[in-house]
């Protein structure tokens, strides 16, 4: 009986792994299209930033990158060791990331970069809004995991769910790192 259950679980694990991979490719294509648009605008513009804009202040982008990195670190640790505090730290840093995004937007406003400020502003805001939207999805997934977290023993199925959410979270972090590099530094 246990062997059969183990087999079923193994099958479910591979199935959800494939499903997750396909999902990440799909979400990745959305961001890839945004990067394509960015590339087209960047390549066709003789000077970047255009229109005499100055590059935004790097403080909040760097802060966001550090926060999301830390969040990723904690959730990865949680997915291996299953210490409850790691999960909540990751969740906390996820929320802090969104707060830092708001601060970033406020900071951009103070420097006169709005969504309606031509293509430069458009790109920064569109990317960060869409990424933030996906972070909200990620945070909702984390919230859905909370009832599981409080159980004393984690079944294999629960561990599988935690693993999947972790991978999705890492995906969002990697997308942010790429965005950070291309939008604010490159």
């Amino acid at each position: 009986m246990q062997i059969k259950e183990a087999q079923i679980f193994e099958g479910e694990r591979i199935t959800s792994s494939i499903g997750l991979m396909v999902t990440i490719i799909s979400f990745g294509m959305l961001f890839a299209t945004l990067f394509l648009g960015f590339a087209v605008f960047r390549i066709n513009s003789p000077v970047w930033p255009p229109m005499g804009f100055k590059r935004p202040d790097l403080f909040y982008p760097v802060l966001s990158t550090i926060i999301i990195g830390v969040s990723s670190f904690f959730i990865e640790k949680f997915s291996r060791v299953f210490k409850k505090s790691d999960f909540f730290l990751s969740l906390l840093f996820g929320i802090l990331f969104l707060i830092s995004q708001f601060s970033l937007w406020k900071n951009l406003h103070e420097h006169g970069i709005f969504a309606s400020s031509g293509i430069f502003g458009s790109l920064i805001y569109a990317f960060t809004w869409i990424h933030a939207g996906h972070m909200v999805i990620g945070l909702s997934l984390l919230l859905f995991l909370i009832p599981l977290i409080f159980k004393t023993e984690y079944t294999n199925k629960n561990k599988l769910k935690i693993n999947n959410v972790t991978k999705f979270w890492h995906f969002l972090a990697i997308v942010w790192v790429l965005m950070f590099f291309f939008l604010f530094i490159f």
Binding site: Q7, I8, F9, E10, G11, E12, I14, T15, I18, G19, V22, T23, I25, S26, F27, G28, M29, L30, F31, A32, T33, L34, L36, G37, V40, F41, N44, S45, P46, V47, P50, M51, F53, F114, A115, S116, S117, G118, I119, F120, G121, S122, Y125, A126, W129, I130
Partner: protein, 576 residues
């Protein structure tokens, strides 16, 4: 080969859980079918209104005209006309074909044909339907806004689709609806891919799957990769409309930091070209199977057909530029797109040899699903071949945005997919509902539809050849089109015939559901896995997961005992 065996759950007893928020792929498939048929009717009515305006400009639309357009005494005004062709295109592509072929038949057939009890992710399946449904409501809401629904064509090129060209909320709602539908479709496709990879019954290799499943598999792959591209385009357009971003507003980038309208065209067609293959692949697969089933012999070179599907799937990603020849991309890019587009004709030609090879030396029974399948071969042959004119740059410069294009894509999308969809409905009716449709009504439906379809779309190609361009409210304004007026009338009459023929189908469908003859498990004597279980299929599909021992087209094997001309996939291949 299934990675795991799905449990048999009890059937839900709660009405909501059983019929509304069901996670059973068969119920979800039927929900998509109802949604698709409803929108097919709405889109069809819009088409009739368009044809009326083109044939009888200035005349009130009969019966419901006075009610819908009281301000103009029943005549369709020009801005409403723009909404009609926009919504017709959007509804037919995203809310009629996608739900019927991909949503309904994808959901219904995939687990049954591969020997699974349900999709890999039943909850996500249910979410996929409800998101699509809600997006349909959002789309229709556009019709009730003060400035009306979206009116910049289903392709919604900026800057017409930005606030410059279309300031109403209808266009914004359209963009939101398409985005939501993209999400729903993508979720569905993730499910299809995972299910096909992980839940095939033991013994079912990829090449033992029926070709219908192959078609749906390839469709899902394209969906998963390219719908997000459309999603990104829609989001950027939405931001342009709502938040003042300038992605698609025109201007020189360095001086006033504005965007590029043609970028939207690139993004749209990177999705748009695979989309047309998404729409036709299930029909190709279904036709390939049906031809074998009704010719009582194996599908000719079935493995090659599957490989051609993979090939076309890959090639379709490289050819999108042929929609943009008149925007003057660089000559090298233009020539590359032309050459690559031409290469698609190789796998397509091989499809045709395989289809003809299937019926060659068969023992053909001309039941209604077979008639429709042969109809698909005919109309897709015509439609696909006319694509050659449009792939060629120089002829495309004349034919772009004329009715020739409209005729071409309607032949390949409307006629082929519609006939394929009807073939599927007639064929799988017993498995879905336990009853079989009336054959003679079905034959009337087929012949009248064929006459209607060919009249409409051949007529369109002719007026397009004569120079009539698209999206015109009143073609009589132009001198060079005066000679095309009688043909326009002819097209409209064919359209009315086509519309009337569908009433036969509706009557047949409803009457069959109410009082049709009940069928046994396998009324068509076909060996794929869904026919090994009772009709209609029980909620758990298979009591015992079948073990697959031969291919899906085992017909006419000379070693079979007399009186039997096919084998179930679960039977060992009979040898001498």
């Amino acid at each position: 080969m299934a990675f795991f065996e799905q449990h048999i759950h009890d059937e839900p007893t709660n009405f909501l859980k059983k019929y509304i928020f069901s996670q059973d792929h068969k119920i979800i498939g039927k929900q998509f079918l109802w949604m698709g048929i409803f929108f097919l009717g709405v889109g069809g009515l819009m088409a009739l209104m368009i044809r009326w305006t083109l044939a009888f400009p200035g005349q009130a639309f009969p019966v419901i005209g006075q009610f819908l357009f009281p301000d103009t005494a029943g005549v369709i005004p020009p801005d409403t006309y723009a909404m009609l062709f926009t919504m017709h295109g959007t509804i037919m592509i995203f809310y009629a074909i996608t739900p019927i072929l991909i949503g309904a038949f994808g959901n219904f057939l995939i687990p049954l044909m591969i020997g699974a009890r349900d999709m890999a992710f039943p909850f996500m399946n249910m979410a996929s339907f409800w998101i699509s449904f809600v997006s349909g409501i959002v789309l229709l809401m556009g019709l009730f806004t003060p400035l009306g629904a979206a009116a910049s064509g289903w392709t919604s090129y900026p800057t017409l689709s930005t606030l410059i060209g279309d300031p109403g909320q209808g266009q914004t709602l359209w963009t939101v609806a398409i985005f939501m539908l993209g999400v729903g479709s993508t979720l569905g496709s993730i499910n299809y891919i995972t299910t096909i990879i992980t839940l095939r019954a033991p013994g079912m290799g990829y090449y033992d799957m029926p070709l219908s499943v192959w078609g749906l598999f390839m469709t899902a792959v394209l969906n998963v990769i390219f719908l997000p591209v459309l999603g990104a385009g829609c989001l950027l357009l939405l931001f342009d409309r709502l938040f003042g971003t300038t992605f698609f507003l025109a201007g020189a980038i360095a001086t006033n930091g504005s965007g590029d309208p043609v970028l939207f065209q690139h993004v749209f067609w990177i999705f748009g070209h695979p989309e047309v293959y998404i729409l036709i692949l299930p029909a190709w697969g279904i036709v390939s199977d049906l031809l074998a089933f009704f010719a009582r012999k194996p599908a000719f070179a079935a493995k090659t057909t599957a490989l051609c599907m993979i090939c076309i799937t890959a090639l379709s990603t490289l050819v999108y530029g042929h929609h943009m020849f008149t925007t003057q991309m660089s000559p090298l890019l233009t020539q590359t797109f032309m050459t690559l587009t031409m290469t698609i004709s190789i796998p397509s030609a091989i499809f045709f040899t395989n289809w003809l090879g299937t019926i060659w030396k068969g023992s053909i029974r001309l039941d209604s699903p077979m008639l429709f399948a042969l109809g698909v071969v005919f109309v897709f042959g015509l439609g696909g071949l006319t694509g050659l004119y449009l792939a060629t740059v120089t002829t495309d410069i004349y034919l772009h945005d004329t009715y020739f294009v409209v005729g071409h894509f309607h032949y390949t999308m409307a006629a082929s997919v519609l006939l394929g969809g009807f073939a599927a409905i007639y064929f799988w009716m017993p498995k879905m509902f336990g009853v079989k449709m009336n054959e003679s009504l079905a034959k009337w439906h087929f012949w009248l539809s064929m006459i209607g379809l060919n009249g409409i779309f051949m007529g369109m190609m002719i007026v397009g050849y004569g120079g009539m361009h698209r999206r015109l409210y009143n073609p009589f304004v132009y001198d060079f089109m005066q000679n095309l007026i009688p043909m326009n009338l002819f097209i409209t009459y064919s359209a009315f015939l086509m519309g009337a023929a569908q009433l036969i189908f509706v009557y047949n469908f409803i009457a069959t559901l109410i009082s049709g003859e009940k069928t046994g498990a396998n009324p068509w004597n076909v060996g794929t896995l869904e026919w090994t279980i009772p009709s209609p299929a029980p909620h758990y599909n298979f009591k015992e997961i079948p073990i697959v021992r031969c291919g899906p087209h085992e017909f006419g094997n000379p070693n079979l005992p007399p009186g039997k001309d096919f084998q179930y996939q679960t039977e060992e291949l009979v040898k001498v």
